[in-house]
Amino acid sequence: MNNGFSILVIDDEIQIRKLLEISLEANEYKVYFAVNGKEGITAAASHQPDLILLDLGLPDEDGQDVLVKLREWYHNPIIILTVKSAEEEIVKALDNGANDYLTKPFRTQELLARIRTALRSKSSVTNESILTFGNISVDLVSRIVKVNNEIIKFTATEYNLLTLLIKNDGRVLTHQYILKEIWGQSYSEQTQYLRVFVAQLRKKIEDDPNRPKFIITESGVGYRFNTS
């Protein structure tokens, strides 16, 4: 039984490998394992997996270095696994090209959802001009956003922010990255704009802006657009 996707797990903890083997194979993924960075890079080259789960704390070399080396030629999604309270590590990993991250201890359901999202955004490079998810539709050509079939007015900045998030569906975007993309290089530390505009966007597209379903806060790191 196989759903056609293969995943490479690079982690030195045997318990985590066992757990991932059981839960990933139960969900019909083909799973490869590597226990350190060196093995991981070799395995990635020989198996060409559709996705890599990379633990940042590896015995032989810094996970960040492994990530950088992989990103020189590997373009499929990479999800980082890390221990808690390491926001700077996470931001660094995202800057180094990771698509997403999970902090240990993580829930398997969450992991599977993230894997599905990452694989979907990999396979669906759509040329469609109208994107729909839930009760929201965005027409990229005419720049019209509809919520519950009603046209909602957005300022230019709001619209740019929304489409940036949507185009990176499922991917965690760091504060700095978003600020640079929307407001420009000199605004990369001005998080106040982001806080205010995210709050405004939520008011316009979320059913309950206080309990957002689409624009998810990744505390201390950034934001993620969630359609799953």
């Binding site: 808690k84 309270s85 926001e87 201890p105 300022t155 900045t157 998080t191 106040q192 704009y193 806080r195 205010v196 709050a199 405004q200 206080n210 309990r211 806060t217 505390s219 201390g220």
Partner: protein, 369 residues
């Protein structure tokens, strides 16, 4: 003074030599008017005094020196160590022995005192350590016991468990694991605080977002409670540490949920100080005030001051806890130059009030940029 002498032994030798010499010279002036036995007593007194302050060796040196001085300068014939009569020889020997005993006894007494002191500090450290171990092993072992017990029941071969029972056991495992995680998190945070590793990363925070975010993470733990929010619609952004604020609110709400009966209300409010027209002034230092209150039993009034003490657990507390949660909250609040107070509510329950004097930024000033 005691310490000063102890640290520097060469100094102590100097002090004993100098003091014996000075006293001997002074006594030399009155040698002809005062009996040499009196001078013997005076020298003996000096040795006893030195024994109080100095280590044993310098005191012994003083004892020998003063015996020699007594013999050489004050027992006739002068300026020779020779002694004419048995009485004087006996006097000198007695002098020396008493000086020695004095020195040794004082030293012994001091050592005993020091040993008692060390023992006392050790005992109090041990007591604190035991309190910690007690509460920790309880707090960690209870969830582990729940996990192992549930798994054992699920694995029993000859028993048919209804799917409902199985579900319940799975839920127990889940709850226990989450509790374990919370305790480990607290321990890590405590060690961060203890090591002085906390350097707040101040950035513009949407306090309202933090509150809702934390509460949705706590939805499982608070499912039997009613949470209500009173958050100012125009709450500005405040310069705080997002991660620390999350942990603070998490621990406080968790604490309220753990220590109040099912169905209790928890109210979270956030407002800002409005005594200056903040719409006009941007980037002013303003007060962010967050209160978290419940309508549970409140805190015993005589112990309320100790609520934030490390490892402090209230006498009648049935729900346990390591006594770390609230002390971490206090540490994190103070790391951001804030303050936290705890009071019992007017009718019932506990009221935690957080205040931060930090930069704020009114949201309206940014909206149209």
């Amino acid at each position: 003074m005691d310490k000063l002498f102890k640290k520097n032994t060469p100094n102590q030798y100097l002090i004993s030599v100098v003091s014996v010499v000075i006293l001997s010279l002074l006594s030399l002036i009155v040698r002809d008017t005062i009996d040499y036995k009196i001078i013997g007593y005076v020298l003996l007194l000096l040795v006893s005094l030195l024994a109080i302050f100095l280590e044993i060796r310098p005191v012994l040196l003083a004892a020998i020196l003063s015996a020699l001085a007594l013999d050489y300068l004050f027992i006739k014939p002068y300026y020779t160590l020779h002694i004419d009569n048995v009485q004087d020889a006996f006097l000198l020997i007695m002098f020396f022995i008493i000086a020695l005993i004095n020195a040794v006894l004082t030293n012994k007494f001091r050592r005993m005192q020091r040993a008692i002191q060390i023992k006392e500090t050790r005992a109090s450290t041990l007591k604190l350590y035991n309190t910690l171990l007690d509460s920790l092993s309880h707090e960690l072992r209870t969830p582990i016991a729940a996990i192992l017990g549930s798994i054992d029941t699920l694995q029993q071969k000859n028993v048919n468990l209804s799917s409902e029972t199985q579900q319940k056991l799975h839920n127990e495992i889940e709850k226990a694991s989450m509790k374990l995680n919370y305790q480990v998190e607290n321990l890590l945070n405590m060690s961060r605080l203890e090591s002085g590793y906390i350097h707040p990363k101040l950035d513009w925070c949407d306090v309202k977002e933090i509150i809702y975010n934390v509460c949705s993470r706590l939805s499982e733990e608070t499912k039997d409670h009613h949470i209500s929010y009173k958050i100012d619609e125009n709450l500005p952004l405040f310069k705080l540490d997002y991660g620390l604020m999350e942990q603070i609110i998490y621990n406080l709400v968790y604490n309220c949920a753990q220590h109040t009966p099912k169905g209790a209300n928890i109210e979270i409010s956030a407002k800002y100080d409005v005594d200056v027209d903040y719409e006009v002034h941007i980037d002013l230092i303003k007060k962010c005030i967050i209160t978290i209150s419940d309508n549970g039993y409140g805190f015993p009034p005589e112990e309320i001051d100790r609520a934030f003490d490390k490892f402090h657990r209230f006498k009648d507390s049935k729900t346990g806890g390591t006594g770390l949660g609230l002390s971490i909250v206090k540490g994190f609040v103070e790391a951001q130059n804030g303050s936290i107070t705890l009071q019992n509510g007017e009718e019932s329950g506990a009221v935690f009030t957080l205040e931060f004097n930090v930069d704020c930024l009114p949201i309206n000033s940014l909206k149209n940029e």
